[in-house]
Amino acid sequence: MAALQHPRSGPEKRLNGLRAPSRRTARHRPSRPANRRAGRKLTSGFFRSAPPTRTWQLPSQVTNTHQESTTYVFVFVPGCAVAPNSANPKYDPTSWNDGGSRNDGVTIQGNSNCYAYATNQKGPFNGGFGMQPGDASGNPITSADDISVDGIRSRAIADGLSPTPVDGGYPVVFVVDPGVDYHWYRQDDNGLWSSKPGSTPVNNVDASGNLITDPATANRNYGPNGPNYSQYGGTLWVPPNFKFPPPYGGG
């Protein structure tokens, strides 16, 4: 049941490090440099504390916001404002959407599914379409019963994803239509979440066509003919320089 919890409740909340320091807490730490605070937030799930809608504020706004609340973790670079977690992959659909059809053995788009995209691994994999949670760790999905929150989570962790924040890593979220399918989202450098449904192009919108600011609240029902990812699987972290082992390493 814990795996089904909303990320803003219970253990998941602590896991994500969502508790931003209060102003009072900040005042009691006057000697801590701003960049040090930013560094701490980088490893503690900045998304909840820095809503993506404020990611691209002007530098002056960032400065003002920083003075008002320590929940903002922007690192100020003259001339630009960058997202706090620089480890998050760049939202760059053009580098994935090279056309092609499923399992054509040639294109990135045709051979990379949502799991591959979330882990930032470009296909083809072992000559074809992939990857599936558990493939790299020798425990592939073999039945519809394996397509559950626990089944996907355990396989992804065995593949090398982390259940806790990792320095230099970035968060991914998975959702499940039990017995039917799973789907993965990754948080990009712009704070939004994107995904790649099967062999179709990368996008950052939900089933309603809205930008995904939080996979937990996004519309994940592609019915009546498509899956309904009704179960929220939770957050895992992709370690830095993550690669599937041979022969699954993407091209």
Binding site: R102, N113, C114, A144, H183, G198, S199, T200, G223
Partner: protein, 138 residues
């Protein structure tokens, strides 16, 4: 006499119920496949909105016969396949002649001279060209 009067409206109600049920969707969770397409653009539009994970098309010809195989993937992560085989008519329209709903795995298709063969590592479905005859219709 009273019972006879009651039986007549009851029968009418039964027929109305049957008529009503016949127009209701019997199983909304199952993929619905149209049976006629005026052209390939209509097939693309239908498949694009029906298969979340994408689809692929393969055209095969044999003499005066031509078929279009659509292999769709209704899922995002799990590799699944659904088959729709359509025959091209002389007027350019397409008629659905075969449907195979969700299978786990990547289905491939090829023309093996005398038949169209769908495989899931090993052949799972063989459609002899001799069985494709709709093309002679207008």
């Amino acid at each position: 006499m009273g019972s006879t009067k009651l039986q007549i409206p009851a029968a009418v109600w039964w027929w109305l119920a049957i008529l009503l049920l016949s127009v209701l969707p019997m199983n909304a969770s199952e993929m619905s496949f149209p049976t006629e397409f005026p052209d390939t653009a209509a097939i693309d539009k239908w498949a694009g909105s029906s298969f979340l994970g994408g689809f692929e098309k393969h055209t095969f010809t044999h003499g005066d016969k031509s078929v279009l195989a659509v292999i769709g993937m209704p899922t995002s992560g799990v590799a699944t396949s659904e088959i729709a085989l359509l025959e091209r008519r002389k007027n350019g329209a397409y008629t659905l002649i075969l449907v195979r709903q969700k299978m786990f795995g990547i289905v491939t298709v090829k023309d093996a001279d005398d038949a169209i063969v769908f495989s899931l590592r090993t052949p799972i479905l063989v459609i002899p060209w001799a069985g494709v005859a709709v093309s002679m219709q207008k």
